[in-house]
Symmetry: C2
Subunit: 504 residues, 2 copies
């Protein structure tokens, strides 16, 4: 076979795997949004069948042979060519999937499924002791997994790479520390600020059906195509690309908090615009038709949620619109009022409820602890103590119970070590990209004031979405902004915004 | 291998096929209820992948070998044993699926997909000539299919057997003719009746969200388990068993016709109760965990829709409830008013909008024509003439255009020859079963008056649902009622009801 024929055979095979995985995605979406409770056990069997089929087809030794034959062929000469990217990224995944022994995969699946169950119970009782033996097992298995993958430096790198391909602790740890060094005093200063916005205006009554209308209107104006997607309700909101032409987002409504659904919807819309911006017509089912990393994905969701949705310019356009929908709740609310309220900052226990300023402190704390756990420098038994001590240092408040501390997140029970830092990477990239977009489109903020957000959407599509996995995250960042990952753009953005709102 | 081991291996394999098919069911449900329009092409690829996988696994020659080894083994001694039923019905399906050459299956799939498209166009233009060449192709291919299956008597038998296993034209044609002979004069008499119910009361304004609440309340009272199912909206309502613990029904709402959604929901609830009543814990994924035939399935939906939902006893309980929900629309409506309105009879062109009395005439006409088509006694070009002539004879009115005549139904374009008679079989069985239930539970109608329908649901579960495919439809009917298929119970029911309502 010629290299081209070998390549075509490879692509045919990975597209079939992608097609099977997309069926899984439909089943998973249905499970989270629609499935009646008693359908659960059978759905698990359906999902495991499809996951097994996809794994079996992807780890077929024939794929390994095709990849070996393509190694060093003329198709890989230009490393940015479609073919080279597809070969490189398929190779990376194939290596990862085939390096894990089947018994380890099955053990991880079994243990995390039980650990998850025990974690739910432990959190309910706020009893870390209940969860401790399970967390010990998950940490030990995660280490085994890291060993199976192999790594340079510390084991954490092998796991981080699952979510942020190519990234290592060394790449990010200095930036994260710089960020923390500036965030902690900023949050403390905000706490003591003389001027405070009135957050209660977003806690008035906002009828949920009207919230949905408003959310869909906003999502559509950002560029979400409702002919190629939908918005549903889910207990734990997420975005799911079920296939080309079908990207779905979810949110949840609280009639006494306008913030949750609006910014949740904008966040998921950001993820969805990335999925919709990928050229699936050309690249669907191959790495060129996939997003780069969780960090870059999060940069998209955070940009639309925060840099856009929490900007004054956004509200210049949308406050009058919102006043026509929420007549009673917003009738006495000014632009400064709403701008202040949606940017209200206060240290709190729960990450998923955190504001934009404290959010990254939640992440940094988790990143530090999970890295120490995997290094063996922190014992699982000592997690609550370490958590609470650090929490006090970063947030200035005492954790009252483990349910509000180290038991709050699902990630560890599910074995997702290395996942947390991608949230902060997203925030950092988001600020860097947004700065660059402003530079290249000097009237962008003026456009926002007129309800026009499609310029930014186009820019993101050109710079990021349409490239699929052509570049690694840090290369992409350098290519777009000319700079490497830095805490400064995000901090500059916060100093400016909170300076104005809090008079600090 | 012992027979038991051979059997276990067979069951393992067919359960896997069933699991794959259930994934297909989830994708199909999502397509019909939730999928955004642009998701359509990819969804077709997903569906065809899963259908192909299921077919490939089911027609694996190994399944044929296992079946041969089980032929005549001690497991088949008692023909009503679980094992004998599973072997018999798997054999039947395996033979059918392996008898069709691959090229024929692909050609049918290709041609019907195009024919469907052309039919949509032809119906829109009410232009039979546009559809004629396609219908000719579909008829020719259906004949080829019948030849490939093999048959005794006429080719129609081979196709009817796909929907009503074991049934032949000889079994039903006399009953159908008896039915027609009594229905035509009954409909004519009703048309001329001196007394007519006021149908406009169901055409008042019924808010769709209230219709949904009422429909869900009724479905729950019939025994639909909303922890194991849901009710959604679909353009063409249907029921789908996505798996054990997950049976979904759909309906559509018209704010100016209370009938459509209520009786649509009760109809689909009837189908769903059958699906929910099967013992999937024990038999899921095998023929013992499947329904018998479309005719028996339809007997369940029609019973709940008509014998129950259009009974006076139903409204004794539900009219006061409905009055509290639809205060304005129902405020001056009496029990006799509503009973008359939901039983209003009038000859009309469109089958899916037909009332209980004329419905079977629509079916008989189609059954007669499609049988003639396959026998070669009727040319496709002569279908409109034959249709219109017969329509005038049965309904007493002239067809104004083919869109209201022979172009109205989707079935023929999709190649579903042999499907139509199962609707009338359902109506006939439904009357027979309902009679028997009344005999065995003398206070059943009294129970209805108190809103208690679970006695009938239990009876159906015991007599029909829990037996899966243990019996063929006609054997089941004999077992339950002591009688063979007959038009008399259905006609007796109609004479009584319409006698009272129309004073005839």
């Amino acid at each position: 076979m010629s290299s081209r024929e070998t390549y075509d055979e490879l692509i045919k095979r990975i597209k079939e795997v992608s097609l099977i995985s997309s069926c899984y995605a439909v089943l998973d979406y249905d499970k989270q949004c629609f499935m009646p409770p008693k359908g659960s056990p059978y759905r698990a069997a359906q999902a495991s069948l499809l996951a097994g089929l996809a794994h079996e087809k992807f780890t077929d030794p024939k794929i390994g042979e095709l990849l070996s034959q393509l190694e060093g062929s003329e198709l890989t000469k230009d490393p940015e060519s479609v073919e080279a990217v597809n070969i490189r990224e398929t190779h990376r995944l194939y290596d990862k999937e085939t390096k894990l022994p089947r018994e380890l995969v099955e053990e991880i699946s079994k243990v995390t499924s039980l650990a998850h169950h025990e974690w739910v119970q432990a959190r309910k009782e706020s009893n870390f002791k209940h969860f401790q033996p399970w967390l010990e097992k998950v940490v030990a298995l995660s280490l085994k997994k890291a060993e199976a993958y192999g790594y340079t430096g510390e084991p954490y790198n092998a796991l981080l790479d699952n979510y942020e391909p190519g990234a290592t602790v060394d790449d990010i740890v200095t930036v994260f520390e710089n960020l923390r060094r500036e965030l902690v005093p900023l949050v403390a200063k905000i706490k003591e600020a003389p001027k405070k916005p009135d957050v209660t205006i977003i806690e008035r009554t906002y009828k949920t059906d009207l919230q949905q209308i408003f959310g869909e209107m906003v999502a559509a104006s950002l560029g979400f195509d409702f002919e190629a997607g939908r918005l549903d309700i889910a207990a734990h909101p997420f975005t799911n690309g079920l296939g080309p032409g079908d990207t779905r987002i979810t949110t949840r409504y609280n009639p006494h908090r306008m913030n949750d659904a609006l910014y949740g919807t904008m966040h998921e819309t950001g993820h969805a615009l990335y999925e919709m911006g990928i050229d699936r017509e050309k690249y669907g089912g191959t790495p060129m038709g996939e997003s780069i990393s969780l960090g870059i994905h999060e940069s998209q969701s955070r940009m639309w949620e925060n840099q856009v949705g929490r900007s004054k310019e956004f509200w210049v356009y949308y406050l009058p619109v919102a006043k026509r929908i929420f007549r009673e709740a917003l009738k006495d609310v000014s632009l400064d009022d709403i701008y202040g309220a949606v940017n209200y900052v206060t240290p709190s226990y729960i990450r998923v409820e955190a504001d934009e300023a404290t959010y990254n402190l939640h992440i940094l704390l988790r990143f530090e602890l999970e890295r120490e756990l995997l290094k063996g420098n922190l014992k699982v038994a000592d997690v609550p103590g370490a958590w609470n001590e650090r929490f006090k240092k970063y947030f200035g408040i005492e954790v009252d119970k483990d349910a509000n501390g180290c038991l709050q997140d699902v990630h560890w029970s599910s074995g997702y070590f290395g996942y947390f830092p991608t949230y902060t990477l997203g925030n950092l990239y988001s600020a860097m990209f947004f700065n660059q977009a402003k530079k290249e489109m000097p009237d962008m903020l003026e456009q926002f004031k007129q309800g026009n957000f499609l310029g930014l959407r186009e820019w993101l599509r050109e710079k990021i979405h349409k490239h699929g996995q052509r570049y690694r995250a840090n290369d992409l960042c350098k290519k777009i902004t000319g700079q490497t990952l830095s805490h400064q753009p995000l901090m500059a953005y916060m100093y400016k915004k909170y300076g104005e709102i809090y008079g600090i």
